[in-house]
């Protein structure tokens, strides 16, 4: 009986070793898979065990038997460790297979191996052994030492633990992978069972340990289980890794609609109960399952969308369902893949909304652009019209300044925009009279320009039949008031009538900036302030008139408020004081130069600051001039002559004018009464108006006389005549008489201012 056991072993063990080696060759190509590599180690250990146990069995000398027994032990101790590692990897616990852990698991087996190799010198493993002949073979029979049991128990723990892992894991998948699991569970149980039978001597007379052969069988069963019954071409182990780590929820459902497996994502899928739970109907969570099932039975696959309520937050899923079939193509269940697309949906929704917004925006912008283009075209047209208006307005401004002997004019107008609300004009009504007009419409741009044109027309019309500036402006106000009120505007107006013969200037100022009168004699500027309200403020307003007499050397500066209100980058006004200071400094210059200095000063003051207002500047310079007259030497003309002289002399002051008048009256009377005592003739006069003096030359063709022949009057006595020349001499600085010059007898009077 023993012999048969040994003979059978010697036959079976090499066969098992060969099969296992073949299996190893077969799975070699899958060695990169962790569980396969561990399986290879297990099979190697089993093969070693089988081969050296066979050697031990067939050995004939005690020494060889003992030697092979020791070698065999190296593989015996390795096998449970390899088994456990396989079980760990297979059941998805590869994390427990770190090199450290492997070393830890191998401590006891290594000690056992060491003790086996050194058992010649101790009895820890084998207490006693005997060599018993079995047929033509010799068997070594042993009684076990204390370490044997230690190792045995440890080995059982490893093997059983591995078996439990494998079986437990397999049972989970049992419904789906039944065939595979049968093989795997059998493989797990076989070595344990065989070894227990042997070690516990449960089969009477069993002398030979068939455990290595059972491990070979287990290896075979595992290989079949792994490679023959594959799930989706994946071994459960690989499936499991994918399954567990998938970012998507995966459920497997059996044909009854019960959940048989689910991955952690699926478990965590629903925050509220009922969630997916193994053993529960899938309809708990997916109420439409039955409807899906109908479609699935037709096609075997389904792709659809599904909305799951997660504590009130709807979550969108893309659902893929595939049939699970066993090798006989029988339906065993369904695998459900739930891919969350909430984010994608949100993005899609956001994209759609954004796209709609974008479309709306584009539409709006397009509309805006069209409007802008229309506006732009209109603006261009308006711009052209404004430029045209500016040209017309510029053409309405005097293209040259008036020319009068003894006077010098200069004018400049700079609109802040294309068209100006400022207006100036020179209206020459007769060869000796010029009206000077400056006006500022309260407002700028086109409306102001339109009104300024009207104002220009009105003032010209008024000036045609009215000489008094005060009455002109009063009249302009009366006729313009209504239009201005409607336009909610008003105009400041200054109009002045210059009598070039006498240098008198009558002006009326309706709220305009005060003109500056530079008086050379005093070296000061006087203002020509407003004499009435601006035009368009009151319907029946009157504008007062004032007059002044200009003296050679004087200057008048008319300007719009654009000059004092010119603003520099610091926000300061140019101011009227700067203007008077400039006039003070440059009044000696000719009118165009004076004007240029002022404009330059304003320009450089403003610098890069924006031009805020129209600027209009008029300069009138009074030059030395000569007045001539000629008339019959008759007393009837005396008043006329004297009036002329007096008016011209008024520029030098009232007292001065009176004294000149007095002297002129004496001399002229003298000429009329004495030179032409018996005859008639002409009297000619030339009046030279100079900045610092006045000179009157009187010529007659009458009888000459020697003034030295005249006795001076007896002053303080009652004497009726003879005072004339005396008085004349007293009131002028120079009085001379030259008889019979080329122009006649010549009286020359000079009075210094």
């Amino acid at each position: 009986m023993y012999l048969e056991q040994y003979t059978a072993f010697v036959i079976l063990a090499p066969m098992a070793a060969l099969v296992t080696l073949g299996l190893m060759a077969y799975v070699w190509r899958y060695r990169t898979m962790p569980e396969v590599s561990v399986l290879l180690w297990l099979m190697a250990a089993v093969v070693g065990w089988l081969i050296f146990n066979t050697f031990e069995t067939v050995a004939v000398t005690e020494a060889w038997i003992f030697f092979w027994a020791k070698v065999t032990y190296l593989f015996i101790v390795a096998t449970p460790v390899a088994w456990l590692l396989f079980a760990l990897c297979y059941s998805g616990r590869s994390a427990a297979c770190t090199p450290r852990r492997v070393l830890l698991y191998s401590v006891i087996p290594a000690i056992t191996a060491l003790l086996a190799l050194t058992s010649n010198w101790h009895t820890l493993l084998w207490q006693a052994y005997a060599f018993v002949p079995v047929g033509h073979m010799v068997a070594m029979q042993v009684s076990y030492g204390p370490w044997f049991w230690t190792h045995a128990i440890y080995s059982y723990i490893l093997v059983l633990t591995g078996a439990v892992f494998i079986i437990r894991y397999s049972l989970r998948l049992f419904n789906l992978y039944r065939q595979q699991m049968v093989w795997v569970v059998s493989a797990a149980l076989l070595p344990v069972a065989v070894n227990i039978l042997y070690v516990a001597r449960l089969i009477p007379g069993l002398q030979k340990d068939y455990t290595p052969i059972s491990f070979a069988g287990a290896s075979l069963a595992l290989a079949i289980g792994i490679f023959r019954y594959r799930l989706f071409d994946l071994k459960p182990i690989a499936r499991d890794i994918v399954f567990e780590r998938m970012p998507d929820a995966v459920l497997t459902v059996d044909v009854q609609g019960r959940i048989v497996d689910l991955n952690p994502v699926a478990q965590a899928l629903t925050g509220q109960s009922p969630g997916f739970r193994i053993g529960e109907p899938v309809t708990d969570v997916i109420p439409v399952w039955d409807a899906w099932l109908q479609m699935l039975q037709a096609t075997g696959e389904l792709e659809t969308d599904f909305v799951l309520d997660d504590d009130g937050h709807p979550r969108d899923y893309e659902v893929q369902i595939s049939a699970l079939r066993n090798p006989r193509r029988e339906l065993t269940g369904w695998i459900i893949l739930l891919h969350e697309i909430t984010r994608r949906k949100q993005i899609q929704t956001a994209l759609r909304q954004y796209s709609e917004q974008l479309e709306a925006m584009v539409a709006e912008r397009t509309r805006g652009l069209q409007e802008a283009q229309t506006k732009l075209l209109a603006q261009q047209r308006l711009q052209q019209e404004i430029e045209l208006a500016a040209q017309i307005q510029a053409s309405l401004l005097p293209d040259h300044v008036p020319v009068f002997a003894g006077y010098e004019f200069a004018a400049a107008a700079i609109p802040s925009r294309y068209v100006s609300g400022d207006l100036y004009d020179f209206i020459v009504t007769d060869p000796e009279t010029c009206h000077i007009v400056v006006a500022d419409i309260a407002g700028k741009g086109v409306p102001a320009a339109l009104l300024s044109s009207t104002a220009r027309t009105l003032i010209r019309a008024e000036t045609d039949h009215e000489t008094s500036p005060g009455r002109i402006l009063t009249s302009v106000n009366a006729s313009f008031y209504r239009d201005l009120t409607q336009a909610e505007m008003f105009i400041t107006f200054l109009t002045a009538r210059l009598d070039t013969r006498y240098g008198t200037l009558a002006y009326a100022n309706a709220g305009h900036t005060a003109a500056l009168w530079w008086r050379q004699a005093s070296g000061d500027c006087e203002e020509c302030p407003a004499t009435g309200l601006p035009i368009g403020v009151l319907p029946d307003a009157t504008v007062e008139e004032r007059s002044l007499v200009l003296r050679p050397g004087d200057a008048l500066i008319f300007y719009s408020d654009g000059i004092p209100e010119a603003t520099n980058t610091a926000g300061e006004f140019f101011g009227a004081d700067r203007l008077s200071a400039l006039v003070h400094t440059y009044a000696h210059l000719a009118a165009p130069e004076l004007l240029q200095r002022i404009m330059e000063a304003v320009e450089s003051f403003v610098g890069s600051a924006p031009r805020s207002d129209d600027i209009t500047l008029l300069v009138l310079k009074v030059l030395p001039r000569t007045l001539t007259f000629e008339c019959d030497a008759a007393l009837d003309n005396l008043h006329m002559i004297i009036a002329l002289v007096r008016r011209a002399a008024l520029a030098y002051g009232d007292s001065f004018a009176y004294q000149v008048e007095l002297a002129a009256s004496e001399i002229a009377s003298n000429v009329i009464r004495h030179a032409y005592r018996a005859t008639t003739g002409r009297i000619r006069g030339t009046l030279h108006l100079l900045p610092d003096r006045l000179q009157l030359d009187l010529y007659d063709d009458g009888a000459s006389f020697d003034p030295h022949t005249l006795a001076p009057p007896a002053l303080g006595e009652i004497q009726e005549g003879g005072y004339g020349l005396f008085i004349a001499q007293k009131v002028v600085d120079e009085l001379s008489y030259t008889a019979r010059t080329a122009q006649g007898n010549h009286w020359k009077l000079v009075k210094v201012a």
Binding site: L644, L662, G716, I718, E720, I727, V731
Partner: protein, 123 residues
């Protein structure tokens, strides 16, 4: 020289106060043109026995030596007839000829017609 007024007229408004006294409001320039008229008027009054004369120069803007001569003539005649000639309301300018000829020492000037009248009563 068209359009200029030719001769400015002289107007004398006469107020008689009794037989011997007259107040003359003179309006206009007193010069070679008008002096003869004034001189004749004064002469006529004095010859009529109206020798107490008050002349109001308030409206006289100008007096030259011819006007002065007429006044001197009137003053002489009035005084020679036992009367007087008082001048009221001359301006600073119209006094000028009196001052230059020192005749302001002989003529009596009053700021108002009333003052001039009062001086007549005192005489």
């Amino acid at each position: 020289m068209q359009g200029e007024p030719t001769t400015l007229p002289l107007t004398i408004h006469e107020e008689r106060i009794g037989d011997q006294q007259a107040l003359l409001h003179i309006q206009g320039r007193l010069d070679a043109v008008t002096a003869p008229e004034l001189k004749a008027r004064l002469k006529g009054l004095i010859q009529d026995g109206c020798v107490q004369l008050i002349l109001d120069f308030g409206a006289v803007p100008f007096i030259d030596s011819s006007g002065l001569a007429a006044l001197v003539s009137g003053l002489k005649m009035a005084r020679e007839s036992g009367g007087a000639l008082k001048s009221a309301r001359l301006t600073q300018q119209t006094r000028l000829v009196f001052e230059l000829t020192l005749l302001d020492r002989i003529f009596e000037f009053y700021d108002s017609v009333e003052a001039a009248g009062a001086s007549l009563k005192r005489d």
